[in-house]
Amino acid sequence: MSLTIGTMMALSFVVSLIGLAFLIWAVASKQFRVDQSDAEVIFSGAEGEDHAPDDPTSFGFQRDAEPGEGTDTRHRKLIFALIGFGTFWLVLGSIFGVIASLKLHLPDWLTGSAPLSFGRIRTMHLNSVIYGWLSLAGIGVAMFLVPRLFKTPLRGVNLAWGGLVLWNIGVAVGVYAIATGWTDGMEWLEIPWQVDILLAAGGACFAAPLVLTAINRNVHHIYVTAWYYLGALVWFPVLFVIGNLPIHTGVQGATVNWWFAHNVLGLWLTPIGVGAAYYVLPKIIGKPIYSYRLSLLGFWALALFYSQVGMHHLIGGPVPTWVVTLSVVQSVMMFVPVIAVAINQHVLWGSNLWAFKQSLPLRFVAFGAVMYTLASFQGSMEAVRAVNTVTHFTHYTVAHAHLGAYAFVSLVLFGTVYYLMPILTGRLWPAPRLIALHFWLVAIGFGVYFFSLTIGGWLQGLAMLDASRDWLESMQLTQPYLEGRSVGGTLMTLGHLLFAINLLSLVFAARRSTDAVDTATPATSAS
């Protein structure tokens, strides 16, 4: 055993050294050098020129725009299918979420069968929205953006279709397994490892086309969005495989559990959201991000600090002080990459409020980007011991998790989908007012959700720390806040139904003229 661990330590050390050598070489040979002019590679016009705002819903199609430029029919359908299935999981997962929320203040509702009990429904909610909605929709967006960023058609489209099938089966079997009580029993890792093999195979089928496309790129510079996507493509498979190995037990299992779970947020969902925002914000506005060089700092600091924050979930627990403290320090260090991204993104949309007012997709993405900043600031503060001692074990944490995974990543994805679908299909959204209604439903719903649980959770934490109050008080006082959460969650779910209706309306609008579009444009307009 000690030999194995010694070998692994030596291996990690060597890998770190090689990484350092690579960094020195890369810096010395200017591999990592970026100029502000590189920020303009996403625009079609010449450098320094004014670029037209790009959002067909608000500003009409750009002059020479072709539907789904650089994509063929199978590729367009693939993107649509990824986002469509993602939305299916979003709606289903939201319904699970609302049921779980209601059960916390109606404990005798639907108690007749085990699959409907709180512990299972809550878990089916999490796995549906993380592995179903966020992962599939995020990959769908990547399948759209990566070929555009690299100015070359997507390679291996058939393989990606295979990935879609495998991944959906994996999530469906996984959620069903949880319903029946077959679980690996660790938060975020509940899907049985046998089923995870399907997800791993599906993930590989998604990764290979993206990597092949990157290798065959026709651009000199790799735009910042693609750094995040390439990073996520390296990170997620490593996390997923190590986290799911059925070898972790006892407290050691807990350290792997939280190393995995927080890195899924930091090194998978965050790159999906930040990467999309880095593309959509400047593209819709028609101006580059504020400081392209700063984005380099933001990216590498995220990788370095975020990867080590997981043990703040075990503050005050049965794990050694040094590893908890390491994660607390790295959590606070997260201010560095977050401020870098905040300066780049918020200065851009904040100084172009005309676009914020006119473009609904931009409103979603900018709102999501602000929530990333707030969620990260809040997360850094929550990791500080003095704050954590109050918020740990309370609903405050649940509110924080939704600020990150929902208000940030999901809203960025909503906005990106609203932006890309007209470009992909050559059809405008039939009912833009429903997009606005979707925005207000989820924004207001989330506000109610977040403030209910944040206030209720904080009061719960204070009550639990007060030795003069019975523990029961800390539970009883959360009641009205838990009811508030159900109201907010229901509004959000209605918004998601509207999102699904909007997508469906585009399918039927598109179907009528698909042939016309295909013949009107020079066949499969791969550049």
């Binding site: 890998v15 908890v324 959360t478």
Partner: protein
């Protein structure tokens, strides 16, 4: 940045470093920890009950990690002393938990040693505490008109008892789960205190 390979290699190396710090070094430090003196392996029934605890998701609302008296009044609430890795050697998977929507259960077997209490509480928590928001688990029980000799009959107050005088009888799953809950007792002295988070300790010179 213009090359894919350096980016991928450096990204991988950074994660490998994080894995070294958060996964491999902690594993090296306490994967080989001996069980604490006084900690017994779970019996077959307790292990089956533990599986119920995991697959019903009890750990989403109940923690099993009392905090030290320097941080929180867990000991005063009867939840027990602060725990160390030696207390969890037989736990697979771990159920440390992240929420206290319900109370900590690390020592619930010592605090609530009655099988009847647990069975009633699992059948209908509100029969014991009116304001409880814990789910009822009626599917772990069956209703019988004439319970057999070996049936464990659950005491249920009239308000929650089945109509027509039938009795509530515990299924094997309820008995297993209760056996597990009763086994939760870490009242023996702590081992290897230096392996837990001492970040809240007020005593200096450690």
């Amino acid at each position: 940045m213009n090359k894919v390979l350096p980016l991928a290699v450096l990204a991988f190396a950074i994660l490998a470093f994080a894995t070294l710090m958060l996964v491999i070094l902690p594993a090296a430090q306490f994967r080989t920890v001996e069980p604490a003196d006084g900690l017994e392996p779970y019996t077959a029934a307790e292990e089956r009950g533990r599986q119920q605890y995991v697959d019903l998701g009890c750990y989403y609302c109940h923690s099993q990690q009392p905090r030290s008296p320097d941080q929180a009044p867990d000991l005063q609430r009867g939840w027990g002393r602060a725990t160390t890795p030696a207390d969890y050697v037989y736990d697979d998977p771990h159920v440390l938990g992240t929420m206290r929507t319900g109370p900590d259960l690390m020592n619930v077997g010592a605090r609530m040693p009655s099988q009847g209490w647990h069975l009633t509480h699992l059948y209908q928590p509100r029969a014991i505490e009116e304001s409880s928001i814990m789910p009822a688990y009626p599917f772990l029980f069956e209703i019988k008109q004439n319970p057999g000799e070996n049936d464990v009959v659950v005491p249920v107050p009239a308000e929650y008892a089945p109509a027509d005088g039938a009795q509530v009888v515990a299924r094997q799953s309820a008995l297993d789960l209760t056996a597990y809950l009763l086994s939760l007792d870490r009242t023996y002295p702590a081992d290897d205190l230096e392996l837990r988070d001492l970040g809240y300790d007020r005593t200096e010179a450690r």
